[in-house]
C-alpha cells in the first residue's frame, strides 16, 4: 500500500531527478525537502502523472502507474498557486472533481457542503476566487482535493504564498487535517520548519538526489551529510574545517584545539543509529559540525571556556543569537534571552562536543570516530 518510487530518473539536458527510490507507507505524511531546483516538484509531478519519468517505476497501491494518465491515478493535487478555476464559484470549484465523475447533483451538493464545513468555508461558497484572501483560497484548494477522498494528496508548497502568521496557523490545521483523514500525503517544501513539524518522515533532496529519508528527529540529530546538517535547523549548524589528532585525541583547526575524549554521543553507535557514518583511517580534512544550541556563551569566564569576540547579537525576545568569532571561525550561538554583549566585547565560550557531528571535508559524508579517540581515558 502507499506510494513506491523505484529508481526514478528524470532527464532533460541534465538529470533533474537522479535514481530516486522512496517508499511511502499508507497514511503517511512524507515531506520532500530541499532547495529550489533539487527535483522535489518534478518528483511530485511524476507521481501525479503530469510528467513522465525517463526511467524507473512508480507504484500506487501496488499498481504500476507509469502509463496511467493523471485523471486515472486517483490522486489530488494542491498547487502552489492553488490553481482555482477563476470563472467558477467556490462551490463549483469544489464540485468540479465530482462533476467530472458524473455524480448526481444532490450527492455533489452534500459532499461539497460537508467538505466546506470541515474547512470552515461555508460562507464563501458563492464567491469567486478573485474575491478571496490568500488563506481562503488555500482552503478552497484543499477542499477541492479532499472532496473526492483520493488515494493520496500531493501538495506543492501550498503555504509559501501566505504571510508568516497565516502560514503558521495553516501548518497546524494541515497537520491536524491529515492526521484526521489519514490520507497518504506527499508534501513539497523548501521550508525546513514545515518539514520538521508536518512530516512523519522527511526526504531531503539536493540536485536531484536523495540525501536522507528519515523521521524529523533523526534528520536533526544524525544528519547523513553536511548538506542535510546545514539545511535543517535554524539558525544553521556551525561548521569548522580542521583535522583530528588521534594521539592527543583532539580536534584542531586554525587557533583551536578541542578535546574529544568526552564520550561524544554520535560515536556511541546504538542500535537505533541508522546513520552510523563511515569510519576513516585518515584524520585529515574533517569538518566539525555543531549546532548553535550546543555552544554555551557567558560574560564571565568559567572552567573549560575559551575566549571569543562578539560580532553582533540578535535579540529575538525568547532567546538571543550571538554571532561570535572564535579564533578565526565565525560561529552562531544560542544564548538566554537576557544575555547582552556589545560588538567587539570578549565573551567566554564552551563548545559541547558531546553533540558534535563530523563530516568528510571533501565528500560531505557523515563520519564516525573510533571509540579510541572519544572514550575518556582513565588518568
Amino acid at each position: 500500500m502507499g506510494i513506491l518510487l523505484q529508481n526514478i530518473t528524470k532527464r532533460y539536458a541534465v538529470s533533474v531527478v537522479d535514481d530516486l527510490s522512496l517508499e511511502i507507507n499508507d497514511g503517511e505524511f512524507v515531506v520532500l525537502l530541499g532547495p529550489s531546483g533539487c527535483g522535489k516538484t518534478t518528483t511530485l509531478r511524476m507521481i501525479a502523472g503530469l510528467e513522465q519519468p525517463s526511467s524507473g517505476e512508480i507504484l500506487i497501491d501496488g499498481q504500476r502507474v507509469n502509463d496511467l494518465p493523471p485523471q486515472k491515478r486517483d490522486v489530488a493535487m494542491v498547487f502552489q498557486s492553488y490553481a482555482l478555476y477563476p470563472h467558477m464559484t467556490v462551490a463549483e470549484n469544489i464540485a468540479y472533481p465530482l462533476r467530472v465523475r458524473k455524480l448526481a447533483p444532490t450527492e455533489i451538493q452534500t459532499q461539497v457542503n460537508q467538505t466546506a464545513a470541515m474547512l470552515e468555508i461555508e460562507s464563501l461558497l458563492s464567491r469567486r476566487p478573485r474575491e478571496l484572501s490568500g488563506g481562503e483560497r488555500q482552503r478552497v484548494a484543499l477542499a477541492r482535493a479532499i472532496v473526492r477522498h483520493p488515494k493520496a494528496f500531493l501538495m506543492d508548497e501550498p503555504l509559501s504564498n501566505l504571510d508568516a502568521k497565516l502560514r503558521l496557523q495553516m501548518r497546524g490545521e494541515l497537520k491536524r487535517l491529515q492526521r484526521q483523514l489519514g490520507t497518504t500525503t506527499v508534501y513539497v517544501t523548501h521550508d525546513q520548519a514545515e518539514a520538521m513539524t508536518l512530516g512523519h518522515r522527511v526526504a531531503v533532496m539536493n540536485k536531484g538526489q536523495l540525501q536522507q529519508f528519515a523521521v524529523p528527529l533523526e534528520i536533526y540529530r544524525r544528519p547523513a551529510n553536511r548538506f542535510v546538517a546545514e539545511f535543517v535547523g535554524s539558525p544553521s549548524m556551525n561548521f569548522i574545517d580542521g583535522r583530528i589528532d588521534p594521539e592527543m585525541r583532539c580536534f584542531t583547526a586554525d587557533g583551536l584545539r578541542l578535546p574529544l575524549d568526552i564520550g561524544t554521543t554520535q560515536s556511541g553507535a546504538s542500535n537505533a543509529d541508522q546513520q552510523p557514518g563511515r569510519l576513516r583511517s585518515s584524520f585529515e580534512e574533517i569538518t566539525l559540525g555543531l549546532r548553535p544550541e550546543n555552544i554555551e556563551v557567558s560574560n564571565a569566564q568559567q572552567t573549560g571556556m575559551i575566549p571569543g569576540t562578539v560580532y553582533v547579537t540578535e535579540l529575538m525576545g525568547s532567546e538571543t543569537f550571538v554571532f561570535l568569532d572564535l579564533a578565526s571561525q565565525r560561529l552562531i550561538a544560542r544564548a538566554a534571552s537576557d544575555f547582552r554583549a556589545e560588538p567587539g566585547a570578549t565573551v567566554w565560550v564552551r563548545l559541547d562536543l558531546r553533540e558534535s557531528h563530523f563530516f568528510d571535508q571533501v565528500t560531505g559524508d557523515r563520519l564516525s570516530l573510533p571509540p579510541s579517540i572519544t572514550t575518556p581515558q582513565p588518568n
Binding site: P70, Q71, A83, R130
Partner: protein, 275 residues
C-alpha cells in the same frame, strides 16, 4: 479644465467628427430625395426624408438576398475558422513538437497571409469551377474560412498561452479528460479572445469584395459588397439604393460588436483574465 485637457478634448472632437461625418452623410443620403442628394450648398439637416430608396433596394431589387447571402457566408466562415483555428492554436500553444516544429508550423500558417490575395483569385476560381461550386455560397464560405484561419490561429494562440498551465493540470488531476478540461476550464477563460477574434473575422468576411466578385455571378450567391458596387452602371450611379444598402449592411456588424463589446475590450487589451 486644464489647458492640456482642453487640447485633448478638442483633438478628440475633431477626430470623431472627421470619422463620423462620412457615416452621417451616408445615412442622410439614403433618406434624401435624389434632387437633394447633391444640392449645393449641401443640405445637412434641412431635407424631407423619404424611404423610397430603401423600398427600391430591398423590394424592387434583390438587396435583401444580398444581405442574406452576406450573413450566411460571414457567420458560417467565422464559425468554421474559429473552431478549426482555435483547436490548432490550442495545440500550438500547449504541445511541444520535436525540433521546434510547432514554431515553424505557426510561422508557416501566418505566411499564408503574406502574399496579395489576388494572386490566388484565378487558381481558386478554377478549383471552384472543377468542384462545381462557382456561384454558390459554399465556395465563399470555404475561401473565407481559409483566409480567416491564420488570423484566428495567431490571435487564439496568444490567448491560450495566457491561460496558466496550472489550471489545466488541476483539471486533469481532478479527473477530467483533455477535451473536457479544454471545454470546462480553458474555453470560458479565452472567451474574450474568441469574441474579439470573431468580430474581426466577421468584419473581414462581411467586407470582402474581390473573391465575392470572382466567385459569384448571380443573385443566388452574391454578397452585399458586390451588390452595392453593382449599382454603378453605365447609365448613372444609383446613390440612393447604394447608400440604403450600405446603411443596412452596417447594422449587423454594429449590433454584434455592441453585443460582445464587454468581451471585446478585454480581448483587445490582451488583458490577463486572472481569477
Amino acid at each position: 479644465m486644464r489647458p492640456g485637457g482642453f487640447a485633448k478634448y478638442f483633438i478628440l472632437t475633431v477626430a470623431s467628427l472627421a470619422a463620423l461625418a462620412p457615416v452621417y452623410w451616408l445615412i442622410t443620403i439614403s433618406f434624401k430625395h435624389e434632387v437633394d442628394q447633391f444640392a449645393v450648398p449641401p443640405k445637412w439637416f434641412s431635407f424631407s426624408p423619404t424611404l423610397e430608396h430603401y423600398a427600391d433596394a430591398f423590394l424592387a431589387r434583390s438587396f435583401g438576398q444580398y444581405l442574406l447571402n452576406s450573413l450566411v457566408v460571414a457567420v458560417a466562415s467565422t464559425i468554421c475558422a474559429l473552431i478549426i483555428g482555435s483547436l490548432a492554436a490550442y495545440s500550438l500553444a500547449r504541445f511541444r513538437l520535436p525540433r521546434n516544429l510547432d514554431r515553424h508550423l505557426a510561422l508557416w500558417i501566418l505566411s499564408t497571409r503574406m502574399f496579395p490575395a489576388i494572386v490566388t483569385a484565378v487558381p481558386l476560381f478554377l478549383i471552384m469551377r472543377d468542384l462545381r461550386l462557382v456561384n454558390t455560397r459554399l465556395s465563399l464560405v470555404i475561401v473565407y474560412t481559409g483566409f480567416n484561419l491564420p488570423f484566428v490561429v495567431w490571435m487564439m494562440r496568444g490567448f491560450f498561452a495566457e491561460v496558466p498551465r496550472d489550471l489545466e493540470e488541476a483539471a486533469l488531476v481532478d479527473g477530467d479528460s483533455r477535451m473536457g478540461a479544454l471545454r470546462r476550464v480553458v474555453l470560458p477563460l479565452v472567451a474574450p479572445g474568441l469574441a474579439a477574434t470573431a468580430v474581426f473575422c466577421l468584419i473581414v468576411s462581411w467586407n470582402e469584395f474581390l473573391f465575392a466578385l470572382v466567385l459569384t455571378q448571380t443573385d443566388t450567391a452574391m454578397t452585399l459588397p458586390v451588390g452595392i458596387a453593382g449599382r454603378v452602371t453605365q447609365y448613372g450611379i444609383k446613390w440612393g439604393a447604394m447608400s440604403a444598402a450600405a446603411v443596412v449592411a452596417m447594422i449587423p456588424i454594429l449590433a454584434f460588436a455592441m453585443a460582445v463589446q464587454k468581451y471585446l475590450v478585454r480581448g483587445l487589451s490582451l488583458g490577463a483574465v486572472k481569477g
